[in-house]
Symmetry: C2
Subunit: 363 residues, 2 copies
Amino acid sequence: MPNLCTPLCAILGTRLPIVQAPMAGGPTTPALVAAASNAGALGSFGFASTQPEAMQRDIEAVRALTAAPVNLNLFVLPQTPAIAARDQQAALDAVAAYYAELGLAQPPAAKAPYAPDLDAQLNVIEDARPRVFTAHFGSVDQARMRRMQAAGIRIGVSATCVAEAQHLQAQGVDFIIAQGAEAGGHRGSYLRDPHETMTGTLALTRLIVRAVNVPVVAAGGIMDGAGIAAVLALGAQGAQLGTAFLTCSESGAPAVHKQSLLAAREDTTRVTEKFSGRAARGLANRFMREMEEQDAAQLAFPAQNMVTGALRAASAKAGNPDFVAMWAGQAAPLAREMSAAQLVATLEQETLDALDRLAAMRR
Amino acid sequence: MPNLCTPLCAILGTRLPIVQAPMAGGPTTPALVAAASNAGALGSFGFASTQPEAMQRDIEAVRALTAAPVNLNLFVLPQTPAIAARDQQAALDAVAAYYAELGLAQPPAAKAPYAPDLDAQLNVIEDARPRVFTAHFGSVDQARMRRMQAAGIRIGVSATCVAEAQHLQAQGVDFIIAQGAEAGGHRGSYLRDPHETMTGTLALTRLIVRAVNVPVVAAGGIMDGAGIAAVLALGAQGAQLGTAFLTCSESGAPAVHKQSLLAAREDTTRVTEKFSGRAARGLANRFMREMEEQDAAQLAFPAQNMVTGALRAASAKAGNPDFVAMWAGQAAPLAREMSAAQLVATLEQETLDALDRLAAMRR
């Protein structure tokens, strides 16, 4: 039996050094997470915008589908301070014409709290004791981290530059996710400006592998086994793939999002703050382009999500890509339509094939 | 004897699938090019801004140092139309304070022609009949290309997106250089906006390998053998490294440029048009930051080179990094100080080590 194992597999409790990336806002259904984990990868819930009660339901649902390790992911951010009425109005005015165009009622002003309570979310995770907890935007406080690790939870956090990786190592994380510029979704930058830490996955992975001693998982632009073999060559011990799983049958991404990924022939992604208030990469569409051209008003993350929420939902429901946040990495044209089990099996075989191809060069 | 050969090596006439990147404006001395080629890589002259007579001198000089194949590179761009006096003045005004600060006389208005005559440059290359000619910003016209190929010159051109790669394949190039977003120096984009083709090397290499049948050389963020093994895993048949060679003893880069590369600890590069008039990646410095913040006036490429030329030269001479165009890729912190022969030997050994590490994962 061929064996792709790296030391990271012992940390994650998986057969394969492959992580199905956590993706907040719908894609990571219990069916997707369970299928990825059952196939030998690490299935992951993106719980950033999920209320504690819904997190508990999803965790129960996935446990009915798999006994394999899973990963629960959160955005570790302080509460956004209440936003002034004038700023609220400017952000609503900036999108009013779009709401009217889709025949929707104008949205109400965003109300604090703008995101689920982080402590309550973390308590759900501590109670659930998953094999893995990963975080975006830095780690949890040291007392919490030690308690989680003592309970057997392995902790990984995203880094977009060397300083973030070194900071995470000093805090004692079990592994680091090197999030290259190719990656879809939110940039996890927390020490430097996200727009100034757009280092490509190849360069960033190598820089971080050379700078720290903890295992590194590479993320960004990896869509097949050749990509996985490439990051293993760079010294990463694992690969995290998000976009590749978005088009799986079990993914909860809207149909228009899946169709747009499968139709992509070029990297037409952009990094925008206009959907959520924080820099995130997705397929370019009318909303991104127009809001950026107009330098339109927006609220801070995550309040901007409330400004755009009903618009995104209605656009997705209507099969209209114009106003949907279609997060995607730069290698989206390599997206494939298959089940998560098929995808993981395909990734495994392709990685082995790539390693065989490289081994033949040594002969 | 371990053998890293790919089919591309037969095209380039080299022992190793490694290209020392052409870098215009000084770094690619005959000593550097000859040392890279003598060590088994493909040494390359960056002749974009070199007058035909100087090209001839460099070609003669390299031939006295090596019988191995070399690559001559040009920027294939139409002549810039004459620039209006008002625009000239605005561009000069934008840099006047910097000239004064360094105690330099204000530069005269840039005079057409703003670049060496492309046809004359190409004639020098046809006469010299190097093993390899590479181009940035698209290929030469079809008649010229067929004539060069009939004379035994192998032709490679940069692509920054799938459409450019497919276009080059249709034109009949011998190989394609996939220039990922990590790459230092000028973006070779010629069908799409350079700022909208910033696809990371990992994603771009895989996209282009999957989209065309001609051999692909990957460029951008590759600094060591792990990076070379990574792009081979992606299906590239070769790796082009620029920044790694900038700090070689034979490189003609200014001392302050070399020192800044060797001192880098993070990716602090930016893509700017302010030095030359075209998007290029280099180490962030005061000139880039201030000119961009002010959205300062600039001329089209390459005329802006004339506006900034004396400033860059004086700053380099004074060992002051503030006004030097310190082109660099995003993995600059991995730069090493050694001779080109040592670097090529090190890259070869590291690549073999990386392949051995990967092969061990299959056991």
